[in-house]
């Protein structure tokens, strides 16, 4: 089965979706969508540095994305500039520098720019699969280990710290995870869309979940579903795989949004009937 390029692509996509789902939830809770985008924009620079240093491109992307994340946090603490100013400056600067660095390297032709920007999941090889699969399991294990304190610190950093969580350590681990998802997800949906793989399924899950854990599980479900629908859809319609996956995620999100609006409307009209029947207790 793994000899088939399509099933290798499917396997890689599902592995990334497994980690992208819950990681994306935390991105939404921490309001870090543009933070993730900034890390993803630095991916090209990471590719070039990875190749120059004789590593593989993914290692370079991981390293640079993590450094950019740390730089953003450090700058936000030190600088007087607004947080999103720093994000905007860094995102576009690193993208531009990445493109310039790429053009300056000796054999410019070796880089397949569109593959980095929009993904090339159908080119995933057998060796890549081992790395992606074990990386996904390791990432999930890390996330599970810090999950409770991460959620606590996301809600209230002071509360978490006062009761023994280690917000700074957990945040660093978490940013490393986002960097890893960017590095591996770049192969699947490309640097420009990798954040979508994290936040769109999570945003859809938000409308259905009652607890953080439910949201994380539903996000995994939606991310994998997007992967399956997107890949089969790309096969059927002959469209690029990465954008097709994100398109599938977008439709799932839209469906959830409509479903949620309808459910709210329904419960509102029911609630009106109920409150007429007997007055609610209100001790607020």
């Amino acid at each position: 089965m793994l000899d088939d390029f399509f099933f290798r692509a499917l396997f890689a996509t599902l592995a990334v979706a497994l980690v992208a789902g819950p990681t994306g939830c935390v991105i939404l809770w921490q309001r870090k969508a543009y933070f993730g985008d900034t890390m993803a924009h630095s991916a090209l620079l990471g590719v070039v540095l990875g190749v120059i240093l004789g590593l593989n491109p993914e290692a370079g992307v991981f390293g640079v994305a993590f450094l950019v994340a740390v730089a953003v946090v450090a700058l936000q603490r030190v600088s007087r500039l607004a947080g999103d100013t720093i994000l905007g400056v860094l995102a576009h600067s690193t993208l531009a520098i990445g493109l310039v660095a790429m053009a300056l390297t000796e054999n410019y032709q070796q880089y397949e720019l569109t593959a980095y920007l929009f993904g090339d999941v159908l080119a995933v090889g057998r060796e890549d699969l081992i790395l992606i699969g074990s990386g996904a399991l390791f990432g999930l294990a890390m996330l599970a280990a810090i999950w409770r304190s991460l959620v606590a610190a996301t809600l209230h950093e002071g509360l978490a710290a006062a009761e023994g969580a280690k917000p700074l350590r957990n945040q660093l681990i978490y940013m490393a995870l986002v960097a890893a998802v960017v590095a591996v997800g770049m192969q699947v949906v490309g640097a420009l869309l990798v954040v979508a793989l994290m936040i769109v399924p999570a945003a859809a899950a938000r409308t259905l979940a009652h607890t953080p854990e439910q949201m994380a599980l539903i996000a995994i479900l939606f991310a994998t579903l997007s992967g399956v629908l997107g890949l089969y859809g790309s096969l059927w319609l002959d469209t690029p795989a990465g954008p097709s996956i994100v398109t599938a995620a977008a439709f799932i999100f839209l469906g959830c949004l409509v479903f949620d609006a309808a459910a709210q409307q329904l419960s509102r009209s029911r609630g009106v009937r109920r409150s007429v029947a007997h007055a609610p207790e209100d001790d607020a």
């Binding site: 304190s149 959620v151 002071g158 509360l159 710290a161 006062a162 009761e163 023994g164 607020a284």
Partner: protein, 241 residues
């Protein structure tokens, strides 16, 4: 003095931010079973002091010592709308550590919030939210309960209930409590030690002693006068504790 080791103590603590000392030269101790209330005007550094005692802020001068193994239950200054993720009250109860279901249900019952356990936190009213946050802190079975403005957002008519609840809980559990408050009457009748803060400790001691302190009057002006008036009128009952 053969007092046992304090749960938490500050020695000449100062916190410097943005070119000025938010608090300076603050020394105080909280012992087991003691209720300590920090009072002071806005910007007096009450929250800063609490955060420093909790270890959330490193003091720029002096030091803070917490007893080893101290279990703290913290009710932070927060609003329900800040808790903007899918979160039931039941899940909030196990936010920082796992608790058995009986413990969390019991704690919610203690603060009169057990009917809310399936509610979403960001849909609670301020009063409900503070009860839930208090229950959450209690479910950790704390040695020290730290409450920063426990009546934040609670409407005037529910304030007395809330103070009564806090009093009952502290008496029943025998845990120490450290809080900030703006209600002088409550502070004076239910607190072992009052700390008047305005950048630094202006006066400190048992409520009966503090109320006659000139610094207290300088801080609270007419309200302090009004309080003294009430206290002298109903002497026997309110100075019992």
């Amino acid at each position: 003095m053969t007092q046992p080791r304090p749960l938490v103590s500050a020695r000449s603590v100062g916190v410097y931010r943005g070119g000025r000392w938010l608090i300076h030269d603050v020394s105080l101790e909280v012992h087991a079973g003691e209720v300590v209330t920090v009072v002071g005007p806005n910007g007096a550094g009450k929250s800063t002091l609490l955060k420093t005692l909790l270890g959330l802020r490193r003091p720029d001068a002096g030091n803070v010592i917490r007893a080893p193994g101290l279990r703290i239950g913290y009710v932070p200054p927060a609003d329900p709308v800040q808790f903007d993720l899918p979160l039931t009250v039941r899940r909030l109860m196990t936010l920082t550590s796992h608790r058995p279901a009986e413990t969390t249900t019991e704690a919610l019952r203690e603060t009169g919030a057990d009917h809310l356990s399936n509610s979403q936190v960001n849909e609670l009213s301020h009063g409900e939210f503070q009860r839930v946050m208090l229950a959450r802190a209690l479910s950790r079975n704390p040695d020290l309960l730290v409450m920063d403005e426990p009546l934040r957002g609670v409407d005037f008519s529910s304030e007395a209930d809330m103070y009564q609840l806090i009093t009952e809980i502290v008496e029943h559990r025998g845990c120490a409590a450290l809080m900030t408050s703006h209600d002088l009457h409550y502070v004076m009748s239910r607190t072992d030690q009052v700390v008047c803060l305005n950048g630094t400790v202006r006066c400190m001691g048992a409520p009966e002693d503090t109320v006659d302190h000139p610094e207290f009057h300088q801080l609270f002006g007419t309200r302090a006068e009004a309080y003294r008036h009430v206290r002298h009128q109903c002497h026997g009952e309110s100075t019992e504790t």
